[in-house]
Amino acid sequence: MTEARIHRSTTSKSDVAVQTASWLALVALLVPLGLIVGDLLMRGATSLSPQFLVDSPSKAGREGGIGPVLLSTLLVMGVCLLVVVPLGLAAAIGLNEYLRRGGFAVRTVRIALDVLAGTPSIALGMFGYAFFCIALGMGVSILAGGLTLACMVMPLYVRLSEQALRTVPDDVRAAADALALRRYTAILRIVLPVAAPGLFAATGLALARALAETAALLFTSGYVSRTPGSLLDPGRVLAVHIFDLSMNVPGGDGPAYATALVLVALLLSVSGVPRLVRGFTRRWSHPV
């Protein structure tokens, strides 16, 4: 993929116009980013402190901290990843390595994944409520929330894992074929190790997507801001806490911003770590 620049060969007015227009667009793109991040830092940093991360919220969250909320978030994400990673990886392996390319099964699964990816998160939240909370009897709980989140995040994870699996060079696959290695040996000993950095990245990105989710969790893991005792207790995740503080609690803006800062910091670190892992594993991959 080459990146080419179109340099100015004439000085016509349209050239200048195009240049100006694209600069304006770039600025328009970045201005909201600057405003939001700026606001986050300015308004959030003041309420932030190590205590904030540990204390329980008091006075409906106007004071105190977000300790229980962090814990609930951790638990919900844990449940989500525990379901998404094995199932999603298996599905990606199935799609990429075992099912016939371009066959009926593959096309159907891909359409299904695309559709699932396009489903509004609120609709998934309703489904989670109807299915996990009511039909399966989990009630509004961390478990139900995690499972609903897993449904939400699954298409992204499968797509990213597949991309990672496809980074294995064709001639390595040809070598494995010519040696008639058993399929699962080839997958476990060759394909997965080469794809590993990409798979880590996929996990990180899926986790980042899950952390940002609110609507799917409103009805499934709940609003309760107490420390959860078990996976079947309801719990409030960071995103829901921000929502509650800003919409329902007068004067909750300060802690809301602080929580938002924590959430964004978490997001950035979770999507950034896979990049480091990539660096370490370069030595073993096939020199293409």
Partner: protein
């Protein structure tokens, strides 16, 4: 052998999820569809879902709210996204382009509540200074545009980057203006990709809930101007489901099912576009 079975069944399970979701939504929407009937969702006088015979279930304001907010957001985001992508790919220094890419990446990752929070505390008061109350269609559209522009940018950037350099060189050697080069070498091949990007963005905007709830004002009536408050389908569900029972709840589920059907058709539309225009298998 075991891995083959696991792999194949996992793929099938994932696909089966979709059927499960549709099934459950329809299941819970059933009572409303039966008792209220499809027509009343559009013919009733207002949205006043109280239990008993006085309940009114006019979904049109919410539909209009969603449609307007989405359309406006697309109108803002699509030109900006495409133009910015053009700039990044063809007109600015590579380092600047990388910076913009990272920035867009961060913007794309911001949770909708965080954008909604900013909208609520910064954008709405700013709009309120022009015309009260601030929480309005305009706010909703702007916030949606912010959320959706990364999608368009990334899709367009990918399409522009895949143009081979030789193609551009040919047009440049003819001494064409930049617009000419774009029209000759770039536009013909990227149209499907841009269209798909736009459809994806619209799908995302339609399904967005939190940010919209926080800034749109949530009055269930058709807005008469940009500055009037508005309620979208998604906000409808988010605000009322925790307290809804019986027929009301079922009606909300029906709304959710309708929303799902709409977004699913958009997804299929997007796939058809990319397949039809580029002529190759979208696999």
């Amino acid at each position: 052998m075991l891995l083959a079975v696991i792999g194949r069944s996992a793929a099938v399970t994932v696909a089966g999820l979709v059927i499960l979701i549709a099934g459950f939504l329809l299941l819970h929407a059933q009572p409303a569809l039966r008792e209220i009937g499809f027509v009343r969702f559009f013919a009733d006088a207002s949205w006043n879902p109280s239990p008993g015979p006085e309940g009114r279930f006019d979904i049109v304001p919410a539909l209009v709210g969603s449609a307007l907010a989405t359309a406006l957001a697309a109108l803002i985001a699509v030109p900006i996204g495409i133009t910015a992508a053009l700039g990044s790919t063809f007109f600015v220094h590579r380092a600047v382009a990388r910076l913009v890419d990272s920035g867009v990446g961060v913007l794309a990752g911001l949770p909708s509540v965080v954008i909604g929070l900013w909208g609520l505390t910064a954008l709405v008061p700013w709009i309120a200074r022009i015309r009260a109350p601030g929480a309005s269609l305009l706010a909703a559209a702007l916030v949606l545009a912010v959320m959706v522009v990364p999608t368009i940018y990334v899709a367009s950037r990918g399409a522009f980057k895949s143009i081979p350099k030789t193609c551009l060189d040919g047009a440049t050697a003819l001494g064409m203006t930049r617009i000419g080069i774009l029209r000759a070498a770039v536009l013909p091949t990227v149209k499907p990709a841009l269209a798909v990007g736009a459809v994806l963005a619209i799908t995302r905007a339609l399904g967005e809930t939190m940010a919209v709830v926080m800034v749109a004002g949530n009055v269930a009536a058709i807005p008469r101007s940009l500055f009037d408050p508005v309620r979208t389908l998604t906000a409808n569900i988010a605000l009322e489901l925790p307290y809804a029972t019986g027929l009301h709840r079922s009606a909300l589920f029906a709304g959710g099912a309708g929303l799902m059907a709409l977004t699913w058709s958009l997804v299929v539309l997007g796939r058809c576009i990319s397949r039809a225009w580029s002529g190759e298998h979208n696999d």
